[in-house]
């Protein structure tokens, strides 16, 4: 990060830091207070910058531009290296460009009732799972920063260490850490600037994708009965601290069929479970667990398996064992619980 430059530009003044500071006065000067300031900054600031994503020894430099206008969030995150992939949220759609694959995914959104606006819902219940602490203030790229640690109390979840800019409350550096303190993933801003306004042009893709394969759902506002996945899904024996926070039926880009989307959360980490009908070609012999495929997506874990003739995809920013345990807890209606290879029930 030798070349790191953080500049809170004069334009930031137009955002009304004075009034913002006044509102912050009600926030405690403790770890929770700083996390809330950061949450507020992320939810209200217009900013753009460059950050480095490091995980598993791989480093990628990305650019981000983020604008909040009323209730709408516009954002563009793009790779400055390699693949040229970029993800843009604008005008009610989330569009992911994969130039290396010549594929574009379009998700209509946000999904009412699912899009969370709170950063860290660390309520009393979550205190059983995480411990908050503030470490000695330091500097990141020449900026004074508060260091807040969210430490997991077991190995079912990851924790965070966040370096929060003293002046703007923006996160300058974020680490995802295992319960043993191992850094699983790190994001560090090398450039960050705040803006009063950001033009729409900043959210245009750099790639011309006219001849790419576009995958989007037909965007029906309701899912018809014939599209509904059969059965009602529930979880029995979830990992400690996790509970069902959302249950919806939706269409995914390119899927062409409705999937049940269940969301489990412990107040900080979340795991999505997608269930869709997909009978296997050859029935499994009785007592044989279904095969499962685990994939890492950055620090998140994704498990694909099958339960009672349904394809189940579970993904979340938690250790693989937790994703596996949540997928393993699924059961359809009142029938017998589906068996997932390696599934752990607690």
């Amino acid at each position: 990060m030798a070349n790191a430059r953080i500049s809170a530009r004069a334009t930031a003044g137009a955002l009304g830091w004075v009034s913002l500071a006044a509102s912050w006065a009600v926030l405690a000067d403790d770890p929770r207070g700083w996390l809330e300031r950061m949450e507020r900054a992320l939810a209200t600031r217009n900013y753009q910058g460059t950050f480095v994503h490091e995980q598993d020894g791989q480093t990628e430099t990305l650019t981000i531009v983020h604008r909040v206008s009323g209730n709408e969030i516009a954002e563009r995150i793009a790779s400055l290296d390699g693949s040229g992939r970029e993800v843009i949220r604008h005008n009610g759609e989330l569009t992911a460009y994969f130039p290396d694959q010549r594929v574009v995914l379009v998700e209509s959104g946000p999904k009412e009732g699912l899009l969370l606006t709170e950063l860290l819902r660390l309520d009393t219940a979550a205190s059983d799972m995480y411990r908050l602490s503030e470490e000695r203030p330091t500097r990141v790229s020449g900026r004074a920063a508060h260091v807040v640690a969210v430490v997991p109390l077991d190995d079912l979840r990851y924790g965070y260490r966040v370096w929060i800019d003293d002046a703007s409350a923006m996160p300058l550096k974020t680490q995802l850490r295992s319960s043993e303190g191992r850094v699983v993933e790190q994001l560090v801003f090398t450039e960050l600037s705040l803006h009063a306004r950001i033009a729409d042009a900043a959210f245009l893709p750099a790639v011309v994708a006219r001849d790419y394969r576009w995958l989007r759902h037909a965007a029906p506002t309701t899912v018809t009965d014939s599209q509904m996945p059969a059965g009602r899904w529930e979880a029995a024996g979830l990992p400690h601290g996790f509970h069902l926070t959302a249950n919806s039926t939706q269409l995914l880009a390119g899927a062409g069929k409705a999937v049940t989307h269940l969301v489990f959360s412990d107040g900080l980490a979340s795991v999505s479970v997608f269930v869709e009908p997909e009978p296997r070609r050859t029935p499994l012999p009785p007592g044989v667990p279904a095969p499962a495929t685990m994939t890492n997506v950055g620090s998140s874990s994704a498990l694909q398996t099958e339960v009672n003739g349904h394809k189940v995809t579970a993904i979340g920013e938690v250790p693989p064992a937790t994703v596996r345990a949540i997928a393993g807890s699924l059961r359809e209606g009142l029938g017998p619980p589906g068996r997932v290879a390696g599934g752990t029930r607690r």
């Binding site: 594929v103 042009a201 969301v263």
Partner: protein, 224 residues
């Protein structure tokens, strides 16, 4: 790829010795990598190179100077401004990166074009860039001053592309319900990780070899 390797690749491309496939990748990187574009700009070689004009010989110390520039060295060449401007106006995948250079240089505190550089216009080895695949965004998209070009993979290389997107759609959908920090991490991983390709060549009912279940009881369909 480290800086030295990239410098070597860049000089090889200047010398016309880089394989076509690598030229394509490097062009793509040049279109997006500000540091690399700055190097190109310093030596004002992009335009001539992409124009494929008949040229003089590349100066023998060119590769060394490119390496020095990548390493943050001070090797510079004085040039006439006219050549810089002319180079910046050129089309083509890499040249587009130069079009917005003034803005980028200002932002990064790199030498402005006044200071510049232009010096010598090397010439040209015709680069093996896949011209047919080079796409330039319409000038109206962001204004001609920031026109961005991009070299896309050849149209024929699209075969096994659907499967990675299959997992990607779940990642995108999950990002919608994640906390802001986790969402950014997910999107960054989706962008950065070309490994978002679960089992691209296999149907769902087959398990990849490296995904043995914890209890070891499950096997891929074909292995039972």
């Amino acid at each position: 790829m480290n800086q030295d390797e990239r410098a070597s690749q860049l000089s090889a491309m200047f010398d016309g010795e880089l394989p076509a496939a690598e030229c394509e990748l490097l062009s793509r990187r040049l279109a997006r990598d500000e540091q690399l574009r700055a190097v190109w700009s310093r030596y004002s070689v992009i335009g001539a190179a992409l124009r494929a004009e008949p040229v003089a010989q590349v100066r023998p110390d060119f590769a060394r100077r490119v390496s020095a520039a990548l390493a943050g060295g001070s090797a510079r060449t004085r040039v006439r401004r006219g050549r810089v401007l002319r180079g910046a106006a050129l089309g083509g995948a890499v040249a587009a990166g130069v079009a917005g250079m003034a803005i980028l240089l200002l932002r990064n505190g790199l030498p402005q074009h006044d200071e510049a550089l232009t010096a010598y216009v090397p010439t040209v080895h015709r680069l093996a860039l896949p011209a047919a695949a080079a796409v330039t965004r319409p000038a109206t998209a962001r204004g001609s001053a920031e026109q961005v070009s991009y070299v896309v993979p050849p149209a024929g290389s699209v075969n096994n592309l659907a499967m990675p997107a299959v997992l990607a759609e779940y990642v995108v959908a999950h990002s919608e319900v994640s906390s802001p920090l986790a969402r950014r991490s997910l999107i960054a991983a989706l962008i950065a990780s070309e490994s978002v390709q679960p089992t691209p060549a296999l149907p769902f009912n087959v398990t990849a070899p490296d995904t043995a279940p914890v209890n070891g009881a499950a096997q891929a369909d074909g292995q039972r």
